[in-house]
Amino acid sequence: MTDIAKLPPGPLGSSSQRAVIWARKNLFNSWFNSILTLGSIAALFWIIPPMIEWGITNATLTPSIEACREVTGACWGFVNANLRLILFGTYPYDEQWRPLLAMVVLVGIIIGSLGAVPYAGMRKWIIPMWLVGIPVIAILMWGGVLGLTYVQNSYWGGLPLTLILSSIGIIFAFPLGLLLALGRQSSMPAIKTLSVVYIEIIRGVPLITVLFMASVMFPLFLPEGVTIDKLLRAQIGIILFTAAYLAEVFRGGLQAVPNGQFEAGNSLGLSYWQSMRLIILPQAMRLVIPPTVGSFISMFKDTTLVVIIGLFDLLNTVKLALRSDPAWTRYYVEGYAFAAAIFFLFCYSMARYAAYLEKELRKGEQR
């Protein structure tokens, strides 16, 4: 208990006495708070035991509809029976070790690059990791070489698709966003205007409109005979969308670097790009890493919108599994709960890590 220091003077007493003091201070310090406490406890008693009964005690994991019909609780059997469909979508069944491995590689790179951020010596490995990792993932997913059978990307689905769309999205949006942020800061009016217009238009419209544009209008933009598939179009839409948001994050970082740093670069005779690369960006990047992780989280959640243009990401594979057999349709709570748990796991841990990074990267400023 952190409040021990604030306890009244004298012998500390038994732990039960301390618990009483703690409860008085934190739960019953006024009549209003006492009512709130009792109300909350009552609400918890009303919600939690039925939830445990539903989710654990009365639930079944047996992957059959008969077993599910017999129990009163949750039918985790639905998830169990459709696990591979939910996780990998319509990827050929016998080849599903490939998206699994690709996913492990991708999550490994994400953890590796986020983990390398606080250590200055490790940061230089982040870009090589992605340069090696992306081709490995591409080979695993597409195949066609090294004896792997070719799998069209229209069969990709589930969690690997969600992860690929969001990580490739942020990786490619990163340089584009940086250019836009620099453009917005530029003293050249034409470049500044173009950047501002792009950023503000994209930020002013919902992602779904950008995805619609990508899925419906991109084919019209291309010359006759050239086609790009749906997945790539969605990916481009996501990149273009995220870049505008990242540009604003980067602008925040650039504005936080004091003007004297630009002037110092100028007085050393460095060119614009030299002083950016050597002086400004290293300082700005340190500031923008936590909000960039935040952008990654929102993009990770936003990739679910590709459902609307008919791609099979994790959310859509759940819906696919629910539709696969009319008997399963009523177990939507279990299906959505499973998908929600996966999303929560990823988003919450990244959010916690971003909060930790923010503290860690500011250590140098605290004396």
Binding site: P206, L207, F212, V307, Y332
Partner: protein, 398 residues
Amino acid sequence: MSRSQNSPGGVRSKSLASYLNDENVRAIIYQIIVIGLVILAGWYLISNTLENLERQNISTGYGFLDREASFEISESMIEYSAQSSYSQALIVGLLNTVKVSLMGIILCTILGTIFGIARLSSNWIVRKLATVYIEFFRNIPVLLQLFFWYALIPNAFPHPRDAIELLPGVLLTNRGLYTPVPVAHHAFEIMGIVAILAIIGIIFLKRWAKKRQDATGQPFPVALVGTAVFFGSVFIAYLAGGAPTVLDVPELRGFNIQGGNNVSPEFLAVLIGLSVYTSAYVAEVVRSGIQAVPHGQWEAADSLGLKRSVALRKIILPQSMRVAIPPLTNQYLNLTKNSSLAVAVGYPDLVSISNTTMNQTGQAIEAISIFMSIYLGLSLITSLFMNWFNKKMALVER
């Protein structure tokens, strides 16, 4: 800055080099190159598009807006039928978007404020519960939440035959929420006019009260008197109009419920999903806003002898509003933009109707350009309003 003395070569090349090294000249050249590239890319895309459209026999232009839409819309705030034009259909969609966004903004502000304050409560259990709520709803995609609510309503609520009667006349079924509505009567028009007049009167009353307090120091209970004036005058108007009591009560006829006002499951799913999701963000905005007010302000209020509620209202909240307004604007804009996800659950919002239009006419570019510019306009209006509000609230520095 010219570096001509450093450049090698003869007289002519020297002047050219110095010219090229001039920062201003370079800036102009860079800009010409960038604009040229943008124009070139734009021209390339447009010419491709025109060619493709011609090849696929798709007409261009906004002429389709006047043609008959010939599709039904399940809910509409204005008169609409399948014989109406596409432009009317789009207006219906826009109104539906605005309706769900406005109600969502109100609901998420209420929920968010409650949970934001709860997160700062001195009560341990309330604080933890608020944290769980915020973290739970913030970290699950909003579309998943919409799908969940949309699946829940038809499955968890009964068929109209066994409707749950929340209050007399308020029925909850798998086809949505039914409430009684008063039958149209001229008294309601009078009440509306009186209400507007009362609000104008209260604004003047508030101005007068402030002037008097500035001059004499005597406060005037504007809130109390204003509320009394408002409800009193509206009630008198109701009586004067003949006090109509006829209600259109929903009731089961055959297999469905007739009469009353129906709130569709789609609308409910979108409204609940968006408000709950956004409220988690609003709660964080409210929390950081309150935390941004220095503790000394509380102490100053204490030493002036102000009550805690007065201190909160007159000292803490106005200052935290100042911090909270810009991020709050962002959340409201996000909610408005996220309302476009209604298309996934079949609520006829702007995007959903544009999508139908697009499929029927094949004129994707026009349809997309319409809803994109409407969203841009909505974003612009919201941020202009919030900027004005922000300026009004901002600290006047001397």
